[in-house]
């Protein structure tokens, strides 16, 4: 049921976009003006090979494009490719490129340009963060003619487009610019997008100008000015005084105040992310399924999310984001039940002693450390302090450790943790972008070294199957199995929230592409 609803919504949205698009051509919307957008940090590096941070990525979506586009709700759709074919076992991808498209420097967009970009990222000398991923996936890139390019994969991958072809490193830049600018591409992006790069004044503003020759029609506005404003309260004041139109990070504390302002729209949807607690299987105590399940029962997740994240997140059900079209609505759950938690732990010999602490036969307490980042996710510290408290209530000897995010990543990579709070933000709900990374024994975000051959098999099957219905069935089983095995405790799906002024018209919001300004215009 859920899936049908989502797809219908997608269709409806596409229709609306189509209709509005048609209307906007005929009804003479106001042209010109400067759109001002607040960003949290300054942009860093526009060279796709080294582009990793979210801010630069968001700004880049207006300048660069990928070989195919992603619609606002995350569906792969035509863009620089008018169409594409995927071989039956998902190992050959053929793209028919759009003709007549030019990069901002006037050079032609064609198959040679695409291949040039991919060859560069895959070159070990370039040392791009995505180099190995592309090398592992792509066997050969063949130019069939000027506007047809074929990717032969090392092995079948049904999510090749979603997971590999659309990411920061695969933004397509002008080959001429790459060759002539060298390292200076980092501050002079040249793409095919709706806006051309104009100027960058560090820590002050990035200015983009309308691309008159954009293949999908020139934007209505003349310019976008991105202003880095680190402090959310300052962003809000700028928004209220009308000096900026968009605020891209809305702090929970201020959501109500912003909503009360008649000149401001607040919009938000659950994003493609799951924040969860991950068990480290290298710790002997967590190899015991009764411990993992027992701890799961001990948490009143619904209440925690309601108390700390009312209106900015929803409770996670299962390992896939609730928004994903593949989400299994009947996925196994562990409803809050302290008695059941104790009973489950008792199956492995953990019983409460006279001091109220859980102890095993040797008299040892159930001791571990809960590690949480500080300020990385909304209310991360507060939430984990409450989780710490709920564990303590059933007699778990748990300590809490609050660390900076960079430190947490170091610890996760070194497997130097017991139980950690972490999440992953993706621009798609495809299970390969979530389950494969966190629950496959070889997944790069499988921080706890979870290893279940049955899960691996299912995920491999799902990746190699082209048929969407068959994939749906496979992933529904996988989600149940993962929950049954409880290698993680899913906590919540955070919303993508943003606020913008009512002068902004015809803006389409979607979590997969929130920073798309190509079709909006500025009205009263």
């Amino acid at each position: 049921m859920k899936r049908i609803k989502v797809i219908n919504l997608g269709l409806a949205l596409a229709l609306v976009v189509l209709v509005v698009g048609v209307v906007s051509v005929t009804a003479d919307v106001p042209q010109g003006g400067t759109l001002r957008v607040a960003i949290r940090n300054d942009v860093q590096n526009f060279d796709p090979a080294y582009l990793v941070d979210a801010t630069t990525s968001g700004v880049s979506f207006s300048v660069y494009e990928h070989i195919v586009a992603r619609s606002h709700d995350g569906v792969i759709s035509p863009g620089l490719s008018e169409s594409w074919e995927i071989s039956e076992n998902a190992d050959v991808y053929t793209f028919n490129l759009r003709r007549g498209v030019k990069f901002h420097d006037g050079s032609d967009f064609n198959a040679q340009a695409v291949k040039f970009n991919f060859d560069r990222i895959m070159d070990p000398e370039v040392a791009s963060h995505a180099g190995e991923l592309l090398r592992n996936n792509i066997d050969e890139i063949v130019i069939e003619d000027d506007y047809t390019i074929v990717f032969y994969l090392e092995e079948p991958n049904a999510a090749f487009i979603d997971d590999v072809l659309i990411q920061n490193a695969t933004f397509l830049a002008s080959p001429t610019a790459i060759e002539t600018l060298g390292e200076d591409l980092s501050r002079n992006p040249v793409g095919t997008g709706a806006f051309k790069f104009h100027s960058w004044t560090p820590d002050t503003e990035v200015v983009l100008a309308r691309n008159e020759e954009y293949w999908d029609g020139a934007p209505n506005i003349d310019q976008i000015v991105f202003r880095p404003i680190p402090e959310p309260t300052t962003q809000l004041t700028e928004l209220r005084t009308g000096r900026i139109h968009f605020m891209t990070v809305v702090p929970v504390e201020q959501k109500a105040a912003i909503e009360a302002d008649p000149n401001i729209n607040v919009i938000g949807e659950p994003d493609f992310n799951v924040r969860y607690l991950v068990f480290n299987f290298n710790q002997e105590v967590f190899q015991d399924i009764n411990v993992r399940r027992g701890l799961h029962y001990a948490l009143d997740i619904t209440e925690l999310v309601e108390i700390f994240l009312e209106g900015v997140a929803e409770r996670a059900y299962g390992p896939l984001p609730n928004m994903s079209p593949f989400h299994n609505p009947d996925v196994l759950e562990y409803p809050y039940n302290p008695d059941k938690a104790l009973a489950t732990l008792a199956l492995s010999g953990w019983a409460r002693g006279s001091d109220g602490m859980l102890r095993n036969e040797d008299g040892e307490t159930l001791k571990f450390t809960l590690t949480t980042p500080l300020g990385r996710y909304t209310k991360d510290r507060e939430l984990n302090e409450a989780i710490h408290f709920q564990f303590r209530q059933i007699g778990v000897d748990v300590d809490i450790e609050i660390v900076e995010f960079a430190t947490l990543i170091d610890k996760l990579r070194a497997r130097d943790f017991d139980l950690a709070y972490i999440g992953l933000m993706q621009r798609t709900g495809d299970p390969t972008a979530h389950l494969d990374l966190m629950y496959h024994s070889e997944g790069w975000a499988n921080w706890g070294d979870y290893n279940n051959p049955e899960i691996d098999d299912l995920l491999n099957q799902g990746k190699r199957t082209g048929d969407p219905d068959e994939r749906m069935r496979i992933y529904a089983i996988a989600q149940d199995l993962i929950m049954e095995d409880a290698p993680t405790i899913p906590i919540m799906n955070e919303f993508y929230l943003l606020a913008y002024r009512t002068e902004v018209k015809n803006y389409t919001f979607g979590v997969a592409r929130p920073m798309d300004y190509s079709k909006l215009y500025l009205g009263e």
């Binding site: 860093q44 390292e183 980092s186 501050r187 680190p230 004041t237 975000a445």
Partner: protein, 313 residues
Amino acid sequence: MMQFLVKRLILLIPILLGVALFSFMIMHLIPGDPAQILSGMRASESDIAALRARLGLDQPLHIQFLDFLKGIFVGDLGTSLRTRQPVLDEIKQRYMATASLALMAIIFSVMVSIPMGIFAATKQYSIWDSVSMFFAIFGLSAPGFWLGLMLMYYLAYRIQLFPPSGMAGPFWTWEGLKSFILPTITLSIASIAVLARLTRSSVLEVLRQDYIKTARSKGLSERVVLFRHALKNALIPVVTLAGIQLGYLLGGAVVVETVFAWPGLGRYVVTAIHFRDIPVVQGGIMLFALTFVLINLIVDIMYAFIDPRIRYE
């Protein structure tokens, strides 16, 4: 004098070497691998290793430190790991924003605090004395963060006199000047408090001296006694403190720069720490240290001009 200057300048070398070593060690000792952060969470170990090699972070620490030192002597602070631009260029742009704000703030502080301190001293124990010293203590205790947001709320949002944030241009343009006002006031409050309190106590002390009594008994007016005889001596410690305050303002504007989205060096270095952009952090700290010691030197030299009794041998 010349000898003193040379001695002091030579002393700078070990100080800056110490700062260089210290900033280098700190950045390499704290957890968080720059190559890892620059590669994102997804990058494989081999991609990270390749980037590490490309950035020269795979070299032994002592080699990296020697490279850093060599660079300093030829005026090359390395390349930012994030933007791949020379650190010196990146820092130069931001330093101008920080320095012009700090200058505005110290001028404003001196203009407000010295009259305030003198006034409080001459009217000791009056209601005006209490009021101005209350404000001084308030200014000293109010966190810059809170004060900045309050000023922004009332002066930029409620009555929209000034822009809430950003540097709209250099201070000699009208738009630019308007954007300087809120950060300048916020940044000045603490300095005003410190300087006003010192001026007050220093003037009070001088006013008790015998030569002031002599001046008064000669029948000089109170105005002449105060401005011709007392102030010259009372302001010596104030000048020292103002110099030190300027040093702080140049380096300690992080909070104000963040609240007002000011394109300054403090905010830039703090972001760089967050991303482990080691060359930027080291370069920034070196510059902060250099500024601080140079300002102290200038203050010492200024003594000789203000107070002829002081001689440097």
